[in-house]
């Protein structure tokens, strides 16, 4: 497995930003890796799954599945980005 590059993580963060904007249009926020999903962004578990699901067209289905499988353990935007990056690398 190749570690994710900065450009990978920037790309994932940009995709997450677009998904977040769709899920929370009335609460504009520029995502940062340190943002806490619940405490800072007020994303409940189903909101998080909505964000991830919106990205189904941009990632391999297995990647989305892996992220959803581990969603309960993800607490920050940075962890979410890492999860996508790791799952994408695993998927090859």
């Amino acid at each position: 497995m190749t570690p994710p590059t900065t450009s990978d993580t920037d790309d994932i963060l940009a995709k997450l930003q677009r998904a977040y904007d769709q899920v929370k249009p009335d609460e504009p926020h520029t995502l940062a890796v340190g943002d806490r999903l619940v405490d800072d962004l007020e994303l409940d578990s189903l909101d998080l799954i909505d964000v991830v699901s919106i990205l189904e067209d941009e990632f391999d289905p297995d990647v989305v599945d892996q992220v959803i499988d581990s969603a309960a353990e993800i607490e920050t935007v940075g962890q979410l980005v890492d999860r996508f990056a790791t799952a994408s690398a695993d998927a090859g």
Partner: protein, 265 residues
Amino acid sequence: MDPVDTVLVFEGQGAKEVPGDPPVDLFALAPVDAQTAIVRHQLARARSWLSDPDRSDVGVLGQSLGELTALVVAGAVDEDDALTLVRLRAELPAALLEPRDWTMASLTRVAPADAEAAAEDLALWVIGWNGPADCIVVGETEAFEALKPRVRLRPSTYRTLPVVHPYHTPLMQPVADEMAETLAGMDVRDPTLPVLSPTGPRAVTTADEARAVVVEALVSPVSWTATLAFAVARWAPTRWRECGPSASLYRFAWKNGLDTDWGEA
């Protein structure tokens, strides 16, 4: 087509709190008090919205408990009578139904029809058809546990709701019968604003129809996807405004393909 400018939308029970200073923790309240707080909050926001005469061109639409709020805003039911119905709706199930351990949950990434097929042999019903891959189910807790692997539920793809009775299922018939008797003695009027009911869905234009939807909603699923489409076709609204407390229905607007001006009242 009977166009309206704005749809006022009222959610059902499920919010954690009613906003305020301080906010009201709905999970700390008895169900009847939580439901009363939700309806009062929704009424206050709707009245505030409607206090601007430029905003009078509205239709109303409520989901589950919110349907009672919609009927008050439409002038079909008095507020005091609606709160009596809220109390009965909250308290009668415990008095009339056999006690069981119920779980109500909101599921995502599960098509309602798939959940229904998977629950065919279970004491579990799909009671909310909220989107192409979103639904609400209620069933005995054991049945819900059995459903989980059948529809590949994961801890993050469902959320249990703070509801302990099988609303919107045939099991509520004894409660519906009592509610019908109470409604027969209430002064229910023809709505003065356009109303749609997610039971069907259908338009509510007379006092008799208002009585009927309150009763039938107790034993019927909430067809939210069909209701949104029905509202668009009938009203062609330019904007939708949720009246709280949590504005949870926006997610089902975009999931059902509504590209529209949706916000909070």
